[in-house]
């Protein structure tokens, strides 16, 4: 049987066609379904290996420059296209990983098979190009987050705060017999299910485009932070939402989100932690707010909320029926006194634009380059394995 070297031979004059077909014109839909994640990235690496094997610096530089430019261009042309961004974020990261894995640097060779070690680049050190590629990946990631936030932001308050899945405390019926609540019939108002469906769409798209699990965790954390911050900010501004019953509804919605994380095997991510301020606010709405020991309990149980935020919720608290008493000013003063030692920020609102720094941890690819085949749909017949 013919022994392949894990390279793709191309002629200099074919570089433009290679970039056009493999990057600029490639349709994610055609790639993701049945192929290995990051296949385009691996094919690009096989071309780099070929140019490196020719010991031709100009050829390698030209290929790397046009590859990076093409990725930037395709992203620039699809700034609102979530699936395209997911695809090229994934392939950019896979390409970065491949360049590390086959760089010949000890640090990245630990998980290589002997054969993969032999396939390391022979002549050129592309570490500077890896830095450029990493900068491009960060830019794609930021745009990727912006598109997801634009999609999910309108759903957050209706789904997390306004929609009532728990019927009135007094008329708590088993869900099977719920009367068709009017809010669903007339307007197609978003519900908590809409939030979960949006998250699931993002998740399945990321998985289909082969995005690294560690990056999926970082995305989940960023989105959960946004959900928590937008919901809590809205709670601060709406007295009508500051009730015991709404606290219960929020806690219920948080458990739906926790369930979602478990279902997607993301519970190890720190996404849940970003909901802590909202969770403590929901607890604060539900807890007793009359005695000295209540005040002490509150002062100790909301470390993720600032003093300003705690006092705001107490002052906004609006009982929904006559049995419940309002929070007395003297009680608020008691809590305020207990919180005086804190030096937390005087900021009320959470920064919904805050971005957690992204990292692209190295992960070696198990694939043997010499076994990779080019799908005919890539229209790369002019390349020779």
């Amino acid at each position: 049987a013919k022994e392949y070297l894990g390279m793709l031979q191309y002629q200099r004059e074919d570089e433009a066609r290679l970039i056009q077909n493999l990057i600029l014109d490639l349709k994610p839909r055609g790639v993701v379904v049945n192929m290995m994640p990051g296949l385009p990235a691996h094919l690009l690496l096989m071309c780099v290996r070929y140019a490196d094997a020719q010991n031709d610096a100009a050829m390698v530089r030209s290929l790397m420059n046009s590859t990076i430019s093409a990725i930037k261009q395709v992203v620039k042309e699809h700034l609102e296209d979530f699936e395209m961004l997911s695809f090229w974020l994934s392939n950019t990261c896979h390409f970065l990983n491949c360049l590390k894995q086959y760089s010949g640097e000890e640090e990245f060779m630990k998980h290589n098979s002997p054969h993969q070690n032999e396939n390391c680049l022979k002549n050129f050190d592309l570490s500077e190009y890896r830095q450029i590629l990493s900068d491009v990946a960060i830019r794609i990631y930021h745009q990727f987050i912006v598109v997801m936030e634009n999609n999910i932001q309108p759903i957050i308050v209706p789904g997390m705060l306004e929609y009532e899945s728990l019927q009135g405390l007094s008329g708590l019926k088993p869900t099977g017999f719920r009367k068709r609540s009017s809010s669903i019939d007339d307007t197609d108002a978003y519900t908590m299910t809409s939030v979960l469906q949006q998250l699931s769409y993002f998740y399945s798209t990321m998985c289909q485009s082969g995005l690294d699990a560690e990056l999926v965790r970082q995305v989940a954390k960023q989105l959960f932070y946004l959900i928590g911050a937008v919901t809590l900010n809205s709670l601060f501004l709406r007295k009508d939402m500051c009730s015991c019953r709404k606290g219960m509804q929020i806690r219920c919605n948080i458990s739906y989100l926790e369930e979602w994380l478990k279902d997607k095997n993301l519970q190890t991510s720190t996404a849940r932690g970003t909901l802590e301020p909202l969770s403590q606010a929901a607890w604060l709405l539900q807890v007793k707010k009359t005695t000295d020991s209540d005040a002490k309990e509150i002062a100790e149980h909301c470390p993720s909320l600032s003093a300003v935020q705690i006092i705001k919720i107490l002052n906004s608290y609006t009982p929904i029926d006559d049995f419940e008493k309002r929070v007395t000013p003297s009680f608020v003063r008691k809590v305020q006194a207990l919180l005086s030692g804190r030096e937390d920020s005087a900021q009320l609102m959470l920064d919904t634009k805050y971005l957690f720094p992204v990292t692209f941890p190295f992960s070696a690819s198990p694939h043997a380059l010499e076994l990779l085949q080019i799908p005919s749909s890539f229209k790369l017949g002019f390349l020779r394995r």
Partner: protein
């Protein structure tokens, strides 16, 4: 680790800004 006959040559990479200039100048050349 494997013994390399000689160290790899570091390829200087352009900055993202330089890369962009290269592309705009190429676009001007081609019709």
């Amino acid at each position: 680790g494997t013994q390399r006959p000689r160290p790899r040559v570091l390829l200087k990479a352009p900055t993202l800004a330089e890369l962009e200039e290269m592309n705009t100048s190429e676009e001007e050349e081609s019709p």
